[in-house]
Assembly symmetry: C2
Homo-oligomer: 417 residues x 2
């Protein structure tokens, strides 16, 4: 089991051990379509060579989002094989996910090919514990829990090594140069950004260790912006950030030093303090309202003097400031953990990124700035589905699966050789 593609080879060589044939898998490029009233935000992956019955679906239940992966035959029966379908649900609306899986259960004969009602759920993520009993009760099916880290890594390895046009680097000139699928991928750092952030060092297949993380993640951004901007969805927030100018709320080096460039070693456009202008501007706005001297107390507010209290806190500017702060911070931490563990390749996964330009730009900038180009940031088109795809591919005979699952309470560290 120590060769990199071992479990992928097994998928092909011994279907009794791993049942999914991923040979020749590729991303279906037709337009995204609707299913049961929900629009898919992620393209399907075609599995042209998988012909056997699939009686399981995989569900990765995180703190904010539940990610579902399931197999379906091609509606057009002339096409061989089938496809992997990807769907997101909000974890606090988990009942919707259960309802959808219920329909899959009844459709099994033409969806997965197994008998009607025959369905197994491979569950991972924290919700695999929190909702375990409810899942079994509501759906009346077998639920196998798979180790979260193991699934993340297995899913990522699958995307990196098997799927063309999946992995890409980001640069402002060329937003999506794809990487060829490669088998030479270790070692690398996985930075999985969901509600919180996990950083996992991967030295080889099934050789991984959670080396760090931070609580400043997607949940922090979404929470702060839902309070401060009134945005109601992640996409609203990102759309606002696209129109924002963080200089209106962030304190730049130039705001502290003035514009006397010649004398200092720092670029005056560097962010010295995220959100650092807000406190003083709020005070000025208030004192201006009270005694009218808020903006005229003898200081030369060259950076702020022209602003009105309203404009100080435009939701667009606030959104961009917080987005950049969270992204830069994750990028700096990722760089430092790479330094500590001699890693050069960083794969960013998780539902925080959502293919958003500003986010990938900030993460890439931070990696390039701190590593001076010695480390490379990579992104994925299915970034939010690493764990659920990994769980989907983990379907094994119970005796083998159980030995490696967290049912035995193994910590990832202890699973690694």
């Amino acid at each position: 089991m120590e060769q990199r593609t071992s479990y992928l080879e097994e998928a092909i060589l011994s279907p009794g051990n791993v049942e999914i044939n991923v040979q020749g898998a590729f991303i279906a490029e037709e337009e995204n379509h609707w299913i049961d009233g929900m629009q898919r935000d992620t393209r399907d992956i075609r599995l042209p060579n998988h012909k056997t019955v699939v009686s399981h679906v995989a569900l990765d239940i995180g703190g904010s989002l539940a990610k579902l992966v399931y197999f379906s035959r091609e509606p057009d029966s002339k096409q061989p094989g089938g496809r992997l379908n990807f769907l997101k649900f909000e974890t606090d609306r988990i009942a919707q996910a259960f309802k959808f899986i219920q329909t899959l259960k009844t459709q099994q004969p033409h969806v997965g090919g197994s008998k009607a009602g025959e369905l197994v759920i491979l569950a991972t993520g924290g919700g695999a514990y929190k909702y375990y009993d409810e899942m079994k009760r509501v759906l009346g099916v077998e639920v196998l829990r798979e180790d979260e880290m193991e699934c993340l890594i297995m899913g990522l390895d699958f995307f990196i090594s098997e799927i063309p046009q999946e992995v890409f680097t980001y640069s402002e000139v060329d937003p999506m140069p794809f990487q060829e699928p490669s088998s030479d991928i270790y070692p690398y750092l996985l930075v999985n950004i969901g509600s919180g952030v996990s950083m996992v060092k991967v030295s080889g297949p099934r050789q991984y260790e959670r080396i760090g993380g931070t609580s400043l993640g997607g949940g922090t951004l979404w929470g702060l912006l839902s309070l401060m901007t009134g945005a109601r969805t992640f996409d609203d927030m990102l759309a606002m950030a696209d129109k924002g100018d963080n200089k209106n709320v962030d304190m730049l080096v130039g705001d502290i030093y003035g514009t006397d460039y010649s004398k200092i070693g720092l670029s005056t456009s560097v962010i010295a303090s995220s959100f650092g202008k807000v406190f003083k501007m709020k005070r000025q706005g208030e004192s201006a309202a009270e005694d009218g001297d808020g903006m005229s107390n003898g200081d030369d507010f060259d950076a702020e003097g022209t602003m009105t209290p309203e404009r100080h806190f435009a939701p667009e500017d606030v959104s961009l400031s917080i987005l950049m702060a969270v992204s830069n911070n994750i990028g700096q931490l990722a760089y430092l953990f790479c330094e500590k563990h001699q890693l050069e390749k960083i794969y960013f996964g998780g539902s925080f990124i959502r293919g958003h330009r500003q986010t990938m730009n900030a993460l890439t900038f931070a990696i390039n700035f701190w590593s001076q180009g010695t480390k490379q940031a990579y992104f994925l088109r299915h970034e939010g589905y690493l764990g659920s795809v990994g769980a989907f591919l983990r379907r094994q005979p119970k005796n083998w699966g159980r030995r490696n699952s967290i049912e035995e309470g193994h910590a990832p560290e202890r699973l690694a050789p």
Copy 2:
């Protein structure tokens, strides 16, 4: 100039080169008192052996606060020497600082001992550039600008090596065990937390390098809390944080995994996502208001089910959550930079800390958690005045001072041997 206390020895041996005699300096423990309507939040430092004239004051102008240090003779003429006085002003009220220095100028004969009107300002921090012309114009005095990093380090070395009951470590059982002044202090990491955060590696006297920093600092905390809690001063925010419970807004590991302790390696009380509960709770509150099903959509909200939308966002809880997030993040970054540069001692300075228990607790916890006790966090009672004290001690004959000041545009890196 290579021995650690070289410039402090000079202070004693060659007053023509450094004019302040710091021998036998100690913290004056009488109650803080008022001066010109402003209460001092920092205790004076007695200089019993300094008897010569002091014709300068030091002003460290940061992004949010300006810190003033000046010398005064003892009001009670029977006492020898004099004392260092510490005063803070808000940078956007810098005119108040100038007004106060104006009064010192007229009081020079009985304050510093020099002729009336005879005064020199040693200025450091970004504002030494931004307000340079204004300072000279308004005060009509000579202004010498001193390198920001150099002043920070010189001030910190002075506090560590000369002042009893200044440096302490923090633990919940013993909040303030003081460290004896020591001459064996190098190497160490200085983490200076103002509006933004600077991390400076110090290998020896005048041997230092800015190795990192983060824009998530005091300005971020103050900005976010001034918007979200209505607090109007830093102290209001800290007082609220003292009464807060971050579990009401932060997403803990237990909120994601449920309370099924036995199965996972992580403590369920670890913060998985700072502010991570806010987004979903706001959504629930809104949908409850709209269609009443916000809390009854089939999920088992064991962690949140009992909360009301109001309680979700108590300003006390929000304050503690953001305070812990910013402090933990700074602590983790400090640990990682120590790992990268093989440092074990971390001194936290800057006006962010303000001797606040929760802040020091979070910083100390982060260092202990990540370093597993291999690194030590230190704090100072005059944490906000490192730069201004350093500038005060830098007063030298011009030819010598100029050679080492940023008037020549030296970057700290290039100042270091």
